[in-house]
């Protein structure tokens, strides 16, 4: 039995040298995170279902008009933001409060696998929402979206998941888990409204038009709208820079709250 101990002790460093193992864990973690979200109807139906339902109402009411095209891009942004805030902000808050995160942390699971799987799942949901809306717009919505523009919008949905996934991490450490859904709605519904996800910012009250450019969601909307030709294509560098800065800010805020909560746990 003693020699078993010796073998195990020596084997451990050799095993950790297997460079592909962390990657395999990330893939498996992502696979199950995604499967879990798909099966959780409260999540998948609201995150994908709401933009689809609204498109069937408002997109189809404007069939063939520019508004039908506008809403493909706007609702994609809406889906991306809600997939991230509910998918990370809410689930991480719950998993933390219910002790599941502790069990994962006590295991040798690499932390990046847990966090990476959450981000990747959000990106996957963003992609699904973009594809569904593009198909709806192109068929029932009666608008023309070229393959190139569709691909661009889908790519934006994926890339746009990253800043809001970062926001999700911060929100997870901010909201009390029991009131999570309410608080997240309070955060993202006004953001969606003021950033032009549902209607052009130009039709909003004047003061909101002034506030909008300060919101990260506004910049995501501008990028997505430009991809389908519903916003000026200039100033893209600025929009991306704002989203990049927002990502860094959110990750830093999440890290600080995380470290603080660790100290108190």
């Amino acid at each position: 039995m003693s020699s078993d101990t010796l073998v195990n002790t020596l084997a451990t460093p050799v095993e950790s040298a297997d460079a592909l193992r962390p990657l395999r864990i990330l893939l498996k973690e992502t696979q199950y995170e995604l499967a879990g979200r798909m099966r959780t109807r409260a999540y998948s139906l609201s995150v994908i279902g709401l933009p689809v339902m609204f498109y069937l109402l408002f997109g189809l009411a404007n069939r063939g008009k520019p508004a039908a095209l506008y809403l493909v891009a706007g609702y994609t942004c809406w889906g991306v933001v809600s997939a991230c805030l509910f998918g990370i902000g809410l689930t991480l808050a719950l998993e933390r409060a219910q002790g599941w995160l502790d069990l994962k942390r006590a295991s040798p699971m690499p932390r990046f696998a847990y966090l990476g799987a959450k981000v990747a799942s959000c990106a996957a949901f963003g992609l699904i929402i973009a594809i569904v809306l593009i198909l709806l717009g192109g068929s029932l919505g009666g608008v023309t979206i070229t393959a190139g523009r569709a691909a661009e919008l889908a790519a934006i949905a994926v890339a746009g998941s990253i800043p809001f996934a970062a926001m999700g991490f911060f929100v997870a450490y901010l909201v009390p888990p029991n009131s999570g859904p309410g608080i997240i709605n309070l955060i993202y519904l006004p953001l969606s409204f003021a950033s032009g996800f549902w209607m052009p910012v130009s039709v909003l009250p004047h003061w909101l038009q002034v506030v909008a450019p300060a919101l990260p969601t506004y910049h995501l909307a501008q990028i997505a709208l430009a991809a389908v030709g519903m916003a000026p294509a200039s100033g893209m560098a600025l929009h991306w820079a704002v989203l990049g800065g927002f990502t860094v800010l959110m990750l830093a805020a999440a890290w600080i709250t995380f470290v603080r909560s660790e100290a108190n746990s």
Binding site: A11, Q98, G99, A106, S107
Partner: protein
């Protein structure tokens, strides 16, 4: 940590060596003990704000040993487990697990934990939860083996959310075994289990120890500590109160326990030779006595209506309550 290949592994030998190693943690432990140590807390202090959860706790876990950590709520049991798992860091003192900092992946690869988890992602199947946890370890236990040991046969294809409370506990136990760990932490493992599942889990804990694995168990069921543990560690208010085999702890409460329904009054009973204390229990009285035979002989002579007589060793529960200052029979002041 020195790697003495000829380290003695028989549990009794360690038990004999225990007091020296445990009571004088600052002194260098003898190398034979060090080699068999799988986890240690040395003068661990943990504060939450102004409250001190642990006030210099020393704890040693040895190979092949099942240690039960007992204490009332707020004694510091969960804090102790969280320190040993590296989920929190001590404010003072030292924590070592398998000769390493418990926060290292190398240490975590060889430990398994069953924590009090209110909810687990419910949409995943039992099989998927096991597959995911197994993927974290370089040498996991075979999935079928995890299923058998945790008693999950027939539940593999069920979603976690569909399981009963006891079944969920068994899944969590299974997850603790996925990495074929050398050291297993079980925090209140049998809460919500039916009698049959509890016995089965006990068997598995014994089997772990028989394979040379170490188990640290926290529990509210003293019967469980009595049935499983080689060593019981009683803590309260973040300090070590007593440690020893369940029998040694029980002996902390002197004498045995006589329960009977009698007309005799309390004054008469407490004046009988060797009686240490009395307690009312519904219609009956419980008498603690050093020499129960003598007491029984006297009360039977004095009261021919006496009935419902039972004589038993004082249970671990009484010792526990006496140690932690609970409302029960107290040992006589020394």
């Amino acid at each position: 940590m020195s790697m003495t290949l000829s380290a003695p592994l028989a549990a009794p030998a360690h038990r004999a060596a225990a007091p020296a190693g445990v009571l004088s943690p600052s002194a260098a432990a003898p190398s034979a003990v060090a080699a068999s140590c799988v986890a240690t807390l040395e003068s661990a202090v943990k504060r939450y704000g102004k409250t001190e959860a642990l006030r210099g706790l020393d704890l040693t876990l040895r190979r092949g040993e099942v240690v039960a950590l007992l204490g009332p709520n707020g004694a510091g049991k969960t804090t102790t487990v969280r320190l040993l798992l590296g989920l929190i860091s001590p404010d003072a003192g030292r924590v070592r697990v398998l000769g390493r900092d418990p926060r290292t992946t190398a240490a975590r690869t060889r430990i398994g934990a069953m924590l009090q988890v209110a909810r687990v992602p419910e949409a995943l199947l039992v099989r998927e939860h096991i597959a995911l946890f197994r993927s974290y370890y370089p040498h996991p236990l075979a999935a079928a083996e995890v299923v058998t040991r945790a008693g999950l046969e027939g539940l593999e294809g069920r979603r976690f959310g569909e399981l009963s409370g006891g079944q969920r506990q068994r899944v969590l136990f299974g997850l603790a075994l996925c990495g074929d760990p050398d050291l297993v932490f079980l925090d209140e493992p049998t809460v919500g289990l039916d009698l049959q599942s509890r016995r089965r889990l006990w068997e598995e804990v014994r089997a772990l120890a028989a394979r040379g694995k170490s188990v640290l168990l926290t529990t509210h069921y003293l019967e469980e500590a009595d049935a499983l543990a080689n060593r019981v560690v009683v803590i309260d208010k973040g300090r070590l109160l007593r440690e020893g085999t369940p029998a040694e702890i029980r002996h902390g409460v002197s004498g045995r326990r006589i329960r009977c329904v009698t007309r005799l009054d309390a004054d008469y009973l407490s004046a009988l030779p060797s009686v240490t204390s009395l307690q009312r229990d519904r219609e009956a009285v419980i008498i603690y006595a050093e020499r129960p035979e003598e007491v029984v002989r006297r009360v039977l002579l004095e009261d021919d209506s006496l009935h419902g007589l039972e004589v038993a060793a004082a249970p671990l529960e009484d010792a526990f309550l006496a140690l932690t200052g609970g409302d029960a029979h107290q040992t006589q002041p020394e």
